[in-house]
């Protein structure tokens, strides 16, 4: 896939314009929508590859739009939020959004998020979902044997660390909220176990540090969660 189609959903014309101009300058194909109704229509009729969605829409809550889209499509959704409160981003991520941008954002930031998402799209298409092995840069996880390797060296992980690595790997490229990760590891009753999560994340990272590219694999989003980045295969 060389030219992904991007749907811009933003009610504020100058910002919509800014994004369009930026995308055009970087040769992305795009379509626009000014409200939630139009956004859902455009999404169904054009089946875009990526959606940039402003959360503050006049006719419907952005989170509601995500739920509607998620009922039939897995297209990556990057939410744009003007609210500095983390709660709405977390809500959007838990509803199925993949990534977020906070206004004001720089053009560089926008392009960087798009690149990350496109890389993930390409990789997901190349990956065989039933593959027993996950590869990302120097990291390799063999799900069948329950072992993880960095640059061919086996990592000595505790069961929780391994579980954590797997959760991140299976959702590679997506920002995962603390709530999502703790639920995956400890179950619903341990939703507030974020402190433990941080400890295991810190020890896991330390073990990944054996290779410089692996140490950059996991991104921290303070107040929100974590993400495993997809490293471009050369």
């Amino acid at each position: 896939m060389n030219k992904p189609l991007i749907l811009i959903v933003e009610d504020d014309a100058p910002i919509r314009n800014l994004i369009s101009v930026t995308l055009e300058a970087h040769e992305y194909r795009h379509i626009t929508a000014g409200n939630a109704g139009a956004a859902i229509m455009e999404a169904t009729s054009h089946n875009p590859d990526i959606m940039l969605l402003d959360l503050g829409l006049p006719d419907m809550d952005g989170v509601e739009v995500i739920r509607k889209i998620r009922s039939w499509s897995n297209m990556p959704i990057i939410v744009i939020s003007a609210r500095s409160d983390d709660a709405d981003k977390i809500e959007a991520l838990d509803a199925g959004a993949d990534d977020y941008l906070t206004k004001p954002f720089s053009v560089d930031e926008l392009l960087a998020r798009l690149r990350v998402t496109i890389r993930r799209l390409n990789q997901t298409k190349a990956d065989n979902p039933d593959s027993p092995v996950f590869m990302n840069g120097s990291l390799k996880i063999d799900f069948a044997s329950g072992c993880a390797y960095v640059s061919g060296e086996e990592l000595h992980l505790t069961p929780i660390e391994y579980k954590l690595l797997c959760v991140l790997a299976r959702n590679c490229g997506k920002v995962l909220t603390h709530k999502y990760i703790t639920q995956q590891i400890w179950g619903a009753s341990w939703e507030n176990n974020v402190a433990s999560l941080r400890v295991f994340m810190a020890t896991l990272r330390k073990k990944l540090e054996v290779s410089p590219d692996a140490s950059m694999l996991i991104q921290t989003h303070v107040g929100i969660g974590y993400r495993m980045l997809r490293i471009m295969d050369n």
């Binding site: 341990w190 974020v194 402190a195 433990s196 941080r198 400890v199 810190a202 303070v222 107040g223």
Partner: protein
């Protein structure tokens, strides 16, 4: 009886309570009179020494009379004293009473009591008052009566004392008689024994019996012929009579003396509790302190379990229980709760021994001043009702505490008003600073954009680049300012608004560094981290803002090419973060003010964009809200170091 309408506009009418059945009639009459005069009714009970000897039946009647008076809107008061009319008259004088309603009763019986009726004597003591005398035929005023089976143990000890002193006196008598002393000495010994018995036993019957027996014994054992009730001496019958009369007199006097002593000791103790309460209340400032004074004083006074429901904004809070020794935490039944709520809502007593929810175990008093209710105090009754004077002292202690609570509330309101005024002042300053300082970058952005739109084509590439860059820089500055203002407004909403979670200090520093990556490019960044995982309990957003502001400060003041150090380390039970630069540093005279709001070093009136002076002030208030400290020091050999210290948080792992 004279009625002067003009004087009775604000009539304060006193009704005297007693345990007699007819008192009900008197109370009803008093209530009607009060209603007719639109006055205030005060019900007074005079606690005499005889009260201690009152039968349970009488006590019950007295209590029901008190409840009746209260129900009819009377304020209950109790005074202690021996002389009933004098006490009533004194109370009337002190309390500014205009009329007294009293039942016409027989005099309280007793050997040495006056013959004049109570009403007559009252009128002599207080001749200026109006009297309403309610006739009272065929009913009996309470008199000291025997308490059947009241205290078996007491009976045993009293009898033992009685027999022992009888034996000792007789033995001494025999000794004196053997030594050949005169009869007068032996009589004295018996009278001495009588004094001992009168003082150490509880009932006067012992003294009376002693008086008779001692005369008989004296006659039997010491007058010739011995061991007969016949005496040869002609004067002996007179001796016996005088001896008997002296014995009765002594016993009566001794008993009254004892009762008075006991009563005044009790009254003194109660008075001292009230005074002590006053003294402690002047020291207590907060609601918690006042309630704890209330609890400790009432426990001292009553030795009963207490339960206090503090009220905040007219809603009752959770109860605090103060158990007396050996008492258990009460089971709060629905009825108890209803009684508490009733007392709270109606500003009256409720619960045990009253007519409202009488089945409860506790008696509830409402703490109130005028229409402001401050809570409810419950006193454990456990089937032994409070006596009249206990109730009266209880009411006055509760009243004192309510007043103290009112004062505390007033003081708090005043303080809040002052804080509000201070906030208002800060807000005004902030608005002024914002409107001035935000205009500058906005002017630059508008101007630069305008030039580019109007004559972008004619400008050379370098100039255009400069204008673009200026627009970007100003917008970036505005973004930072908006972040700070948002954080400041969150801080102002108070601590409760902070989302405290356990955070890894290094994660937050990384976030801040990423945020400023563009501005940090011309600097050398030097990070050192502790090997340990350093966690703090923090609102992540705000703490990231602190690090951003400190880094921003370093970027602003240190010239490009300088080095910025960020160190995190553990010290004692704290996490220390140090942000240092090797720029020009901060002069000593500015160090004291650097965290002040709106303080900005350099030209304060000029338009140089050094910041609003809210960045560091915000850092300080955020760090303070996290129970930490922030300081500024010199960096060797040059530059500034900002260091903040936060309590380290431990993490319990769930594996």
């Amino acid at each position: 009886m004279s009625l002067q309408k003009t004087e009775n506009q604000n009539a304060r009418i006193l009704v005297c309570l007693s345990s007699s059945i007819s008192n009900v009639k008197v109370i009803h009459a008093a209530s009607k009179i009060t209603a007719a005069f639109h006055g205030t009714l005060i019900a007074l009970f005079v606690e005499t020494p005889a009260y201690a000897l009152m039968s349970d039946e009488d006590r019950k009647r007295l209590r029901s009379n008190m409840n009746l008076a209260e129900k009819l809107g009377a304020t209950l008061e109790t005074v202690t004293g021996d002389d009933v009319p004098y006490q009533i008259a004194e109370f009337a004088r002190v309390s500014d009473i205009s009329s007294i309603v009293i039942g016409q009763t027989n005099t309280v019986g007793g050997l040495l009591r006056r013959k004049k009726s109570l009403t007559d004597r009252l009128m002599t003591y207080a001749p200026d008052l109006d009297y309403f005398i309610i006739p009272d035929y065929g009913t009996k005023v309470y008199m000291a009566r025997k308490q059947p089976e009241r205290n078996r143990k007491r009976l045993l000890t009293d009898s033992a004392i009685f027999v022992a002193s009888m034996l000792v006196s007789t033995a001494i008598g025999f000794l004196f008689s053997h030594l050949g002393f005169t009869d007068a000495n032996i009589i004295m010994v018996y009278l001495l024994g009588l004094l001992v018995v009168s003082i150490s036993t509880t009932h006067r019957a012992y003294s009376m019996v002693w008086a008779v027996i001692s005369v008989l014994l004296f006659d039997l054992l010491f007058t010739t012929p011995k061991f007969t009730f016949y005496a040869y001496g002609t004067g002996y019958p007179v001796t016996f009579l005088i001896m008997l009369a002296a014995a009765f007199t002594i016993s009566t006097l001794a008993i009254r003396l004892k009762q008075n002593a006991g009563q005044s000791a009790k009254a003194a103790q109660r008075m001292s509790v009230v005074l002590e309460t006053d003294r402690q209340l002047t020291k207590a400032k907060s609601m918690e302190e006042i309630l704890s004074v209330l609890a400790s004083q009432l426990t001292k006074l009553l030795n009963r379990s207490l339960i206090i429901y503090p009220a905040e904004n007219d809603t009752l809070g959770d109860p605090i229980f103060y158990p007396a020794a050996g008492d258990t935490v009460p089971y709060r039944t629905n009825e108890e709760k209803q009684a508490v709520e009733w007392a709270f809502a109606h500003h009256k007593r409720a619960g045990a021994t009253t007519e409202v929810f009488p089945k409860t175990d506790y008696l509830y008093y409402s703490m109130r001043v005028l229409e402001h209710a401050y809570g409810v105090v419950g006193v454990a009754v456990h089937d032994t009702p409070l006596d009249a004077s206990e109730q009266s002292v209880l009411a006055s202690v509760v009243g004192e505490c309510s007043l103290a609570l009112e004062n505390a509330r007033n003081a708090r309101e005043k303080e809040e008003t002052m804080v509000l005024a201070e906030n208002e002042r800060l807000r005004a300053n902030l608005l002024r600073a914002v409107s001035h300082d935000l205009r500058t970058p906005l002017t630059s952005i508008m101007g630069n954009a305008d030039s580019l739109m109007a004559c972008g084509g004619t400008l050379d590439a370098k100039t255009r680049g400069q204008l673009y860059n200026d627009i970007y820089q100003d917008a970036q500055w505005l973004t930072g300012m908006v972040e700070n203002l948002l954080s400041a407004s969150r801080m102002k909403e108070g601590k409760l608004n902070l989302k405290m979670t356990t955070e890894l200090m290094d994660d937050m520093i990384s976030e801040a560094v990423t945020h400023l990556s563009r501005q940090l490019k011309p600097y050398t960044l030097n990070r050192s981290q502790s090997d340990e995982l350093l966690f703090v309990k923090a609102d992540a957003r705000l703490l990231v803002q602190v690090v951003i502001n400190l880094l921003d400060n370093a970027i602003k003041y240190a010239p490009e090419g300088s080095t910025i150090w960020i160190d995190t380390l553990a010290r004692d039970k704290n996490v220390v973060v140090r942000i240092a630069d090797n720029g020009p540093g901060i002069p000593d005279d500015q160090k004291d003010h650097i965290f002040d709001l709106f303080y900005s070093s350099g030209n304060p009136t000029g338009d140089s964009r050094r910041g609003l002076g809210i960045g560091l002030a915000l850092c300080q208030s955020i760090i303070k809200a996290h129970n930490g400290t922030i300081t500024v020091m010199d960096h060797e050999p040059q530059g500034a170091v900002f260091e903040f210290v936060l309590p380290r948080d431990e993490v319990n792992l769930n594996e």
